[in-house]
């Protein structure tokens, strides 16, 4: 019986993560989910937020964007449009992006544009949340 999960995190730009891990916590559309090995096959959506990866007793944190997760007994595959490890998040840049996005949301624009800006805002908020939580 497998005691680890193969975790794959890919974004359109790169493969961010591909390792065996003990547990993954995901920001599911209906709240956080913890995934252990031998999970029942599941396909779900995630929202921008924080992925916690437990590997060899240590926790690693990543900020992720919208996406989909395919879970089988031995594998968790996360497809998302953004995935950044906590230690790589640039807080000043994320904060700047958040402010720009908020400023633009206040103005007038069509549906498509506003969806894009909202997504950008959610991305920077997720990054800030992860970064700030683990600084202290």
């Amino acid at each position: 019986m497998a005691s680890t999960l193969q975790l794959e995190i890919v974004t359109p730009d790169a493969k961010v993560f591909s390792e065996g891990v003990e547990m993954v916590t995901l920001p599911g559309a209906e709240g956080e989910m913890g995934i252990y090995p031998q999970h029942v096959p599941l396909l779900t959506q995630i929202v921008p937020g924080e992925v916690i990866v437990r590997k060899e007793g240590r926790d690693y944190f990543l900020a992720v964007g919208d996406g989909f997760v395919e879970i089988t007994g031995e594998r968790v595959a996360i497809m998302t449009d953004m995935a950044i490890r906590a230690e790589h998040i640039d807080e000043a840049r994320a904060e700047g992006a958040r402010q720009r996005a908020e400023a633009r949301l206040a103005g007038q624009m069509d549906d498509e544009e506003s969806a894009m800006v909202s997504a950008a805002l959610a991305h920077s908020l997720a990054q800030l949340k992860v970064k700030r939580r683990h600084q202290h």
């Binding site: 559309a29 396909l43 959506q45 989909f68 395919e70 595959a77």
Partner: protein, 292 residues
């Protein structure tokens, strides 16, 4: 026999051409690196997306989505992805040869890139829409194309949609490829090499049924359009990488040919010059002999 002046003029003009093609080669080379990088780094995501989609559509027996409906009618749309500019070797002609194999009467074309639009207009085929994409394709551009194709399929204007594009294999090799796009279910991996990987993965998973959270219809309603958008995006990246690679190689060949031509012309120029000098010497010598 051409005069030395004519040859000198030709050498100069060929030199200028060589300079231009050399510059275009450099530009294409730098764009090519970026485009290739983009195409290659998108592949893992595309492969995983295909794999997941394959698993899901095979293991969800009691659920169908309008985008998965197989109608089997003859009406077909082809998303034809060409280039904006020429000077990229046989890339477009290879692509158009494939494009002309579809039945004229039942096929409409959705084109991306100016050359694709020109081909469709010239061969008197039906255009449904023309799109353009930039040197660095944007996800938005892909989404617009994908959305248009999806709507045509959903409102019954066509029964299936294919994508015809040039897949990037290496700098020296690109091949036109046809991929079924809609209905979903006949999904094929982006790259031929990934086919093995997927079947292996399918065996590994076995006939497991997937659970969906929040619900199958909700997850699929989000996943299917997204995966289609992404497929178009990846195809645009591949086409761009192919275009820049082909352009780089074509321009390199042109530069090499020009340099070879310069060498040949210089040789001929020197021969003629020497012949002229020899002839003049002979004339002087014979004139001197006649006088003495």
């Amino acid at each position: 026999m051409p005069s030395t002046r004519d040859i000198r003029r030709r050498i100069n003009s060929v030199k200028n051409t060589a300079k231009i093609t050399k510059a275009m080669q450099m530009v294409a080379a730098s764009k090519m690196r970026r485009a290739q990088q983009a195409a290659l780094s998108g592949r893992p995501y595309a492969a995983l997306m295909n794999e997941v989609l394959g698993n899901v559509t095979h293991h969800v027996s009691d659920f169908t989505h309008p985008l998965m409906e197989k109608r089997g009618g003859p009406k077909r749309a082809v998303i034809l992805i060409g280039t904006d500019k020429g000077l990229c070797g046989a890339l477009n002609s290879n692509l158009m040869r494939e494009a002309s194999k579809f039945d004229k009467t039942t096929t409409v074309y959705i084109t991306a890139g100016r050359k694709a639009a020109q081909f469709v207009a010239r061969s008197r085929r039906t255009v449904a829409a023309e799109f353009s994409y930039k040197d660095a394709p944007l996800f938005n551009e892909a989404r617009t194309i994908s959305k248009f194709a999806r709507e045509m399929f959903l409102n019954g204007a066509v029964d299936c949609v294919d994508i015809l594009y040039t897949t990037f294999i290496s700098t020296l090799s690109q091949r036109p490829e046809i991929r079924p796009f809609l209905p979903i279910g006949a999904i094929q991996p982006v790259k031929a090499g990934m086919a093995g990987e997927r079947t292996e993965a399918m065996l590994m998973h076995g006939p497991t049924e997937f659970l969906f959270e929040p619900g199958a219809d909700q997850v699929l309603a989000a996943l299917l359009p997204h995966s289609l958008n992404f497929q178009v995006y990846q195809v645009l990246l591949e086409a761009k990488a192919s275009e820049q690679s082909a352009k780089m190689v074509a321009m390199k060949n042109a530069t090499d040919n020009a340099n070879q031509l310069i060498k040949d012309l210089t040789l001929e120029y020197n021969k003629i010059r020497q012949a002229t000098i020899t002839k003049e010497l002979l004339e002087i010598a014979s004139a001197a002999m006649a006088l003495s």
